[in-house]
Amino acid sequence: MIKDITLGQFFPTNSLIHKIDPRVKIILISVYIVFLFIAKNFGSLGFMTCITVILMIITKIPLKLYFKGLRPVLFILLFTSVLNVFYGSGEPIWQWGILKVTWNGIQTAVFVSVRIVVLIMISCILTYTTSPTDLTDALERIMKPLTVFKIQVHEIAMMMTIALRFVPTLLEETDKIMNAQKARGADMESGGIVKKLKAMIPVLIPLFVSSFNRAFDLAVAMECRCYRGGKGRTRMKVLKAGKIDVIAVIFSVIVLAGVIVCNVMFPQLTVK
């Protein structure tokens, strides 16, 4: 059951978006997110939403999976919507004690919710279409200039890679330890929250110890293979921007121009 958790969900298909250089993809997606916050009326937000849906379709990944990505934030979404509905300004349409619903509140609630949903969808497009290795690799390269400020970019990227490598291993191990404890008569399913948490202690301690052992072994194995930090290291995969990346950039520029145009053209659609 624990194995069902997947991290860095990557769904390989042969879509154009998968083929974009991960560095370009990360930068473009970040710019999209910034523009999502620049969009200030329903016209431009609607435009961004349409573009996002089109991009989702281009990825050839079933839309169902994108909605799954929404599930963890559903609660936050609901919570902010309710707050927004009741905290609007202007004439109340409906009032009960100090609770009042205004037209402005409803508009804000819808606007903010759509913005959050699109934000998540856009981030999903990035993580769903880029393999974790490509992602960390690209991040390392994008952040390279930061080494000037004494930030250990290579070390951070290496840590991310190792974490990604060992998360599945540790999950598997947790499962194994749990089964081992169950085989010795441990009861993990019944009882209240406190009892269940207590039952987790005999799982967590061995897991902790074995993680340290693993870390030690891994360090030895890395040293064994001449690892000595990022200095003088080359990479097998060279990232090279190609035609598809130029197209992606041009497409994005057009979209962003569209957002600004919509912002100016539909002032009447701004949240009042």
Binding site: T133, T161, R165, E172, A221, C224, R225, Y227, R233
Partner: protein, 278 residues
């Protein structure tokens, strides 16, 4: 052939526990060595000393004329002597098999195109090429071990130390890995030090070192070592089955000129015996 690894009066302890006790020997360039001995007799420890993962308590180890004195020497020695560790589980670093095989080469600063070529070649030589885009944690123990071997092969060291590389493999896999190791030794002239518990693997080598309680008990060609059946038996170490069979015949008064090492030699010897009788 020139001396490649020289071990001079080396001792090593983990705390109070003395694991290696005043060991000396030399290994020549291009030799194929087997290291045998009981569990806990210090084989893995010795392997780690070759690679400067551990430093001798007293005595000196030189690799290709280099004694590890500073960081740079250590790095040079490690690029000359590759070590495949005993447990493959925590040896794989990257999230994709081919990235992992490339890891060592990347550390050595080899140009990308050359890394690509070496990685493909190494993966093919351990028969894992079709798994190159898999995630390491989804491989079986034996497959992980092969990937680990490929990672070292790709670095093209002058010497490879393998710590029980076939312990997790099935007979077919063992044969394949042994074939790969022998190919590397014969065709690429790479010095091989093979730590193993399998006698049929040991007989394929040029020279055998038998360790016991932190000392070298005996050494020599497989023929020489396995003819000392009494000595090995006394320390309850194994000899190849073929040798054992003829040795027992000797005890029953049927003597042959020499002791066989492989089943083939044994059959030939037995045939000869039977022909003589009839």
């Amino acid at each position: 052939m020139k001396d490649f690894i020289k071990v001079n009066n080396v001792s090593f302890s983990y705390g109070e526990n003395k694991v290696l006790d005043d060991i000396s020997f030399t290994i020549k360039q291009g030799e194929f060595i087997a290291l045998l001995g009981h569990n806990g007799c210090g084989k893995s420890t010795l392997a780690k000393l070759f690679n400067v993962l551990l430093v001798p308590e007293s005595g000196e180890i030189s690799v290709d004329g280099l004694v590890a004195k500073n960081e740079d020497d250590v790095y040079k020695i490690r690029s000359k002597v590759g070590l495949v560790l005993q447990n493959p589980d925590n040896q794989l670093v990257a999230t994709i098999v081919e990235e992992d095989v490339a890891f060592g080469c990347e550390n050595l600063g080899i140009p990308p195109k050359e890394i690509r070529r070496r990685v493909d070649e190494a993966l093919k030589s351990v028969d894992m090429y079709e798994y190159r885009t898999h995630a390491p944690h989804k491989l079986s123990g034996g497959q992980k071990q092969r990937v680990a071997i490929a990672g070292i092969i790709a670095m093209q060291p002058q010497c490879i130390v393998l710590d029980e590389p076939t312990a997790m493999l099935d007979p077919q896999g063992r044969k394949e890995v042994m074939d790969t190791i022998r190919y590397l030794n014969k065709e690429k002239n790479i010095t091989i030090i093979l730590i193993t518990h399998y006698m049929d693997e040991a007989v394929q080598t040029d020279r055998i070192f038998v360790m016991d309680k932190g000392k070298i008990l005996t050494q020599g060609t497989p023929q020489e070592v396995f003819s000392k059946v009494e000595l090995l038996k006394e320390k309850s170490l194994d000899v190849p089955q073929a040798t054992e069979l003829i040795y027992r015949l000797h005890q029953h008064g049927i003597s042959t000129e020499k002791l066989p090492l492989t089943p083939e030699e044994c059959i030939a010897l037995l045939e000869e015996l039977l022909n003589k009788k009839s």
